[in-house]
């Protein structure tokens, strides 16, 4: 009884053994896979010369609060750019999904890409789909153990490689990998690698389509962006039905038409290649990640029969009903405008990154001090922050405060190392005579060496005794 109850309450995963397929979409997807893997695995090793930081092209140095992407050096206050990037990513997703459906899921999502690699490994060791099904159903033996062990071993290797590559983005890769091997790396490096390896193994090796079906929020909310013009992978019911095997007198399309049969020969190939284990002929389903492999499968069969492609293909609800698929529609324009605006704003913001920050803060306690020669002294804390990866020398001067003497700790110029923050104390002295109370003036910070940049004018106030 208890056994039965468990069976009812918790559904066991039904394993899926996708069959391999050849075709244009398969080639396209392998191309994307190679590109994505190439970027992901090689990027941490790409070098980029820097004066003050490791020569790593893409480096996110969290303890140092410095983030580098090639020539761009970022600091925590640039976090707004991540906001911009996320807006662009979201709008791009909405824009593309509105036009062409779940393109991200089927072609670009790392869950899809890593699952594909894991399935490739599975096929390499265990063979094609029927062999894998046989192996899964076979009783335990040394051969089965060996094959499964080899599969899991290779999976673990890929998972570990994935996890350690992710870790390499956060520190200088060549040093970190040596430190990790020697057991000298920070705990966070091992924890990150372990976590990413484990999740990669579980998600791509064991969970697979369940991630898309049960866990992924994008999978669910992308349907909100669908309309009647959105491209979907669909089976042409009017052409395909009724299905029948190509029996003796059902070999040609004409024969089939005459007997009320459609083009679908019910071979099941489209179902066997599906990574989420659905039958596309049942219509649009939430499990479908639009990977288009069923299109390749069906086209292969159509080719072998000499019949035209497209029994399963990209279409839209409108096209299915005999209408035209509109690409330009209010939704596309809306998302497109926001997308372009976000790209323009982010691009402008990054292109106009300032070379340095300068702020002037008056020391307010005390506001002023009388000196032994009777002059009045005000003090100011000047905060300088070199934002770029080259040194910067500035001269600090005064404007609109006649007769005043400036003392920056006896320094003529201040040199900031790449990305250095420095506070200098500036003392301004002036005779007490003349206008009493407040006197507005300006600090002028002029870059004189290193990075070319505009002078900064910072308004401030000189206080005299009332």
């Amino acid at each position: 009884m208890a056994q039965e109850a468990t069976e009812v309450l918790y559904q066991k995963r039904i394993p899926i053994f996708p069959r391999s397929v050849k075709g244009i979409f398969r080639r396209l997807k392998y191309g994307i896979l190679i590109l994505a893997y190439g970027i992901y695995f090689l990027l941490p090793w790409l070098r980029w010369e820097r004066l003050n930081a490791p020569d790593q092209a893409v480096l996110f140095d969290i303890p140092g609060r410095h983030f580098y992407i090639f020539g761009l050096a970022m600091e925590p206050q640039d976090v707004i750019w991540i906001g911009g990037l996320l807006v662009i990513a979201a709008m791009l997703l909405f824009f593309v999904t509105g036009i062409a459906g779940r393109v991200f899921c089927g072609y670009f999502c790392f869950q899809t890409l890593w699952t594909e690699v894991f399935v490739l490994i599975e096929r390499l060791i265990q063979g094609e789909r029927p062999a894998r099904i046989r192996l899964a159903q076979a009783p335990w033996s040394a051969a089965k153990l060996g094959k499964l062990g080899a599969t899991w071993g290779l999976w673990l290797l890929v998972a570990f490689w994935t996890g350690s590559t992710f870790t390499l983005y956060w520190d200088n890769a060549p040093e970190l990998i040596v430190a990790m091997a020697r057991g000298e790396a920070p705990f966070a490096a091992y924890a990150t690698t372990l976590f990413l390896s484990a999740t990669t193994f579980v998600m791509a090796g064991l969970a697979r389509e369940q991630v898309c079906t049960y866990m992924c929020p994008y999978a669910r909310f992308q349907s909100a962006m669908f309309d009647k013009d959105t491209l979907i992978v669909a089976y042409d019911e009017r052409r395909g039905e009724s299905r029948h095997k190509p029996a003796r007198n059902l070999k040609s399309r004409e024969q089939r038409r005459a007997q009320g049969m459609g083009d679908c020969v019910d071979c099941g190939y489209c179902v066997q290649v599906c990574p989420t284990g659905i039958d596309i002929r049942n219509g649009l389903q939430l499990q479908c990640i639009s990977c288009a492999l069923c299109i390749d499968a069906c086209n292969t069969i159509m080719d072998s029969l000499g019949w035209p492609h497209g029994l399963v293909g990209y279409t839209s609800e409108n096209a299915q009903q005999g209408g035209a698929t509109r690409i330009i529609k209010p939704k596309t324009i809306g998302y497109g405008v926001i997308l372009l605006t976000a790209i323009a704003v982010l691009g402008w913001s990054i292109a106009h990154q300032v070379a340095y920050n300068a702020t002037v803060e008056q020391i307010r306690q005390p506001l002023y001090a009388t000196l032994s020669d009777g002059r009045i002294q005000n003090s100011y804390e000047i905060k300088l922050n070199n934002r770029v990866t080259r040194p910067l020398t500035v001269r600090i001067g005064l404007e609109d405060l006649p007769g005043a003497e400036l003392d920056v700790g006896g320094l003529e110029q201040v040199t900031l190392e790449p990305q250095q923050r420095l506070q200098v104390l500036a003392k301004v002295r002036r005779a007490a005579a003349g206008k009493q109370g407040q006197q507005h003036f300006t600090f002028v910070i002029t870059p004189v060496g290193g990075v070319q940049a505009e002078p900064a004018h910072r308004p401030s106030v000189f206080y005299l005794p009332e």
């Binding site: 009812v8 309450l9 918790y10 559904q11 066991k12 995963r13 039904i14 394993p15 899926i16 053994f17 303890p63 029927p130 099904i133 969970a207 369940q210 049960y214 095997k245 020969v265 071979c267 099941g268 190939y269 179902v271 066997q272 284990g277 659905i278 039958d279 049942n282 069969i301 020391i363 307010r364 306690q365 005390p366 001090a369 009388t370 000196l371 032994s372 020669d373 009777g374 002294q377 003090s379 804390e381 700790g409 006896g410 320094l411 201040v414 250095q420 420095l422 506070q423 200098v424 104390l425 003392k427």
Partner: protein
């Protein structure tokens, strides 16, 4: 290969019900949870059990279960190991955390170099200001004020360029280490009221607070001669001696008599006269800090104070 039997997963399953029926036709759908969800739930239970074992968790009698995890930190020079708790973790972080380490390294760097080198290094100066501010708040602000502005008549202003005991970094370091005791004898008994008036007038002329007059000439005689004997400490020219901590009377800074605040000559004179008559006793005592601050901290404070107003 195309005729291969499709497996279970490809058959669409009809919606199941739990089999219960109420009011004749009211039924409950059974949407089974996936098995992985169940395993995730068990994993969280295991996590909780391990957590209970390692960290403080349940109330237990008069106390609680302390957990197996410990934290080690130093008190003075002693290593202390306690059950894991956030306060101990904080102490440990303050001792061994990244910021603490960086601060310690910088402190050591400053300890090694001499004052001349520090003065040329904006980074060290900035570090001294940032750490010095905290030390000043803890140790000095009670008398000298939060910004070091002092109180006229009691505690010297540290933001000006006038130094009773010398304004070089070395001198400031010495002042901090050993303390100072400023003293001026009372002349109320030695000098008669007329003489007091004359000396006060003379002192005011030194910083151009009063015009020269016969009274000031008489005052100068007393100041520079044996009658008053002021020159012994303040010097013939009234410029003071930093080795004694005697004030420079020729500059515009008044540390005891609040002359700049007074409007009329009479009031100014009265203020100065009061100081001459009563002296400065038991109010210019700067404690020694060598027992309360480390030599490195004192060195750092010397740099901080030197920058504050106008070190020499």
């Amino acid at each position: 290969m195309m005729n291969e039997k499709t497996t279970k997963q490809q058959k669409s399953t009809a919606v199941q019900t739990t089999g219960h029926a109420w009011d004749g036709d009211l039924q409950e759908f059974n949407n089974p949870l996936p098995r992985w969800w169940l395993w995730s739930f068990y994993a969280t239970v295991v996590f909780a059990l391990i957590y209970w074992l390692l960290y403080p968790s349940w109330p237990w009698r008069d106390s609680w279960l302390h957990g197996l995890k410990t934290v080690t930190f130093t008190v003075g020079k002693e290593k202390v190991t306690t059950d894991w708790n956030t306060r101990a973790v904080l102490i440990q972080e303050l001792e061994e955390g990244r910021s603490a380490t960086v601060q310690r390294e910088f402190m050591e760097k400053i300890a090694k170099v001499d004052f001349g080198e520090i003065q040329k290094n904006p980074e060290m100066l900035a570090f001294a200001r940032s750490v010095g501010k905290g030390l000043f708040g803890t140790n000095c602000a009670a008398c000298h004020g939060r910004g070091g502005q002092g109180v006229v008549g009691l505690y010297p202003n540290l933001t000006d360029d006038d130094w009773l005991w010398g304004g070089s970094m070395e001198k400031i370091q010495e002042t901090l280490t050993n303390g100072r005791n400023g003293f001026m004898p009372a002349f109320g008994e030695t000098l008669n009221p007329q003489q007091l008036d004359d000396v006060a007038t003379y002192v005011l002329t030194l910083s151009a607070e009063a015009p020269q007059s016969e009274a000031s000439d008489r005052g100068r005689e007393l100041f520079q001669g044996y009658g008053g004997g002021c020159y012994a400490c303040h010097g013939k020219d009234g410029k003071g001696q930093q080795s004694l901590g005697s004030a420079n009377l020729t500059d515009r800074i008044w540390t005891i008599a609040n002359v700049p605040e007074k409007q009329t000559l009479e009031d100014k004179k009265a203020a100065v006269k009061q100081v001459i008559a009563n002296g400065v006793q038991n109010r210019r005592v700067m404690p020694a800090w060598k027992d309360r601050m480390s030599p490195n901290e004192i060195k750092l404070m010397a740099v901080y104070l030197h920058q504050l107003g106008g070190g020499q």
